[in-house]
Structures are given as structure tokens and as C-alpha cells.
Point group: C2
Chain length 136, copies 2
DNA sequence: ATACATCCTGGAGTTAACTCCAAGTCAATA
DNA sequence: TATTGACTTGGAGTTAACTCCAGGATGTAT
């Protein structure tokens, strides 16, 4: 599969894929005799994992470390397992932050939706943490 | 409240708070006669909102726009409401990506945990999307 | 009144993660 | 076989969001 096809499959740019390969976010991709990238099934699955984890905010550094361990062989299985658990904790923490923000946001949105009808903001101190009182 | 106290309350650096004020992520903070920042209740709530939304990955640009609208007065209530909804959609999309990644990660972790016991990786094609087969 | 810690500003520097570019190679078409 | 368009590399440039710094002002404890 050409780089272009992989790009549109995962919605990333060719530069990004080449960059991932260069810095080791994914292992080296299979090439044609002419030196042009020709992604195998496995290559594509690496890209899938990398783009998925990246879009969740997992730092590139961790992915590089994972690939490094993978290349070292089966004696790094435990280390890879630890790394994945560490990564999961990191992403769970992200989700907690997102949920906090969503709660705060929903409170504000409710106040604003009422305000759009009544014409005046009425902050409700315990449902919404709001700095943004309408000055009166 | 001094900048230092606000910093330790929200676990950010003084530089970050000054930066937020400078670029308009929060409105101007109250000062002592000498020109030193002395955060009021309201100032602190703005900081709370900003740090909360930022840590969920909401871009600074949106926060700046929100503050800009806020300063314009009550005729921007509808616009602010729209902006908040847009921000919520953005963050909900983030959460979906996170949930996708978590699912993929949990699949991998399960495989690795089994492998730590048995000594060999056994990928289960439909429970886990995995590029990282142990070569054999 | 003198240290000494803390604060101020404007501007430069840093980091992660791309993104762009020039100069050249490869492959499909006319 | 010549053209055209996609691909290659190494390296430089960009962007968001801080982070650091120099040189100076402020505030508090002795």
C-alpha cells in the first residue's frame, strides 16, 4: 500500500508518516526495490496503533520506547506490559481532566442558555463555578 | 491573594499566570498600589476556569475569544453560549479519541499480561488490533 | 535604613510534534 | 524516450504554549 493510501486511511500527512518512521514511532516500513515505501499489513497496523494512541494525547516518546523494546525481542515483554499500563494511567488521568472540564462547561452552558432566553445571566453558585458574572 | 498563592492553589507557574493575563486568557488582574498582582475572588475564579479548561486541552485561542466577548458586555451572551457549545463538542471529540485508545490499550495489556505468565504473546485478532506480533 | 525575598516588564528561548522545502529519484503514460 | 507526477532524503522552519532571563521596583524583617 502506498504512503498516500495509508495517509487517507488514517487521515494523516505523508510528512507525518515519514516523521514517525524516522524517529521510531513505528518500525521501518517495507520498501519497493526502488526504495519507495510499500506498507504491509503489519506496517499498517503499526500506523493504526500509533495514530490512535497519538490522537489520545499519548506522547511520542512513549511510543518510541515501546517500539525500541519491541525490537529488542521477547525478553522485553514484561517491560512493554509495564509501559502500556503506565500509558493507560496517563490517558485515564487525561480523561478525568476532560470530565471535570465538561462538568464545568455544562454548568456554564446551562446558565447561558437561560440567559439567551431571559436576557440576563444568573449564576448559580453551587451548580457552576463561574468567574464570569455579568457585572451590574 | 498573591500570585504565588494562586499558583500553588492551581498548580501552575507564575510565568504561566502572567502569560495568561498578557495574552487575554483571563481578564486583567487586580493590583496593589505598587503594581503587584493581588488576585480577587473573581480573578481566582477566572484562573480556575482557565486552568481547568486548558488541562482538558481546550485551545488558548478559544479562551481568549471568550474573554474578549465577555468584555464586550451582555450583548455577546448568545455568542458566548455558542462558543461554549463549540468548545464542548471539541472536548467531547477528544474524549471519544481517548476512549478508542483506551479500548485498544486494554486489549494489548490483556495480551501482554497473559504473555508475562506464559512467556509468549498470543494476539487475538478480534479483541485487539495489534501490529506487534512476536515474530516467529 | 538596609538587606533580602518577591514581584514587575518586555522580550528572547524552549519543547513537542509536526510541516515545509530543495534537489534529486522512480514509475506510469503518451 | 520524454514528460509528468508521486516519491525520496536531510535539514530547516513553524506553531502552540509555555518558560526563562535581565534589569529594575516593591515589601517586609531586622
Amino acid at each position: 500500500m502506498t504512503i498516500k493510501a495509508v495517509c487517507s486511511k488514517f487521515n494523516v500527512s505523508p510528512d507525518t508518516l515519514r516523521y514517525y518512521e524516522r524517529v521510531g514511532v513505528i518500525p521501518e516500513v517495507h520498501r519497493t526495490s526502488g526504495g519507495i515505501r510499500d506498507y504491509t499489513e503489519d506496517d499498517i497496523k503499526w500506523v493504526e496503533t500509533a495514530t490512535c494512541f497519538r490522537s489520545a494525547g499519548m506522547p511520542i516518546e512513549l511510543l518510541i520506547e515501546y517500539v525500541r523494546l519491541f525490537r529488542e525481542g521477547d525478553h522485553t515483554i514484561k517491560a512493554r506490559c509495564e509501559l502500556l499500563k503506565e500509558a493507560r494511567d496517563l490517558i485515564l488521568a487525561e480523561r478525568r481532566k476532560i470530565d471535570d472540564a465538561l462538568e464545568k462547561m455544562d454548568g456554564k452552558i446551562k446558565v447561558y442558555e437561560r440567559a439567551v432566553e431571559t436576557g440576563r445571566l444568573e449564576w448559580d453558585d453551587n451548580s457552576c463555578c463561574c468567574c464570569n458574572k455579568s457585572k451590574e
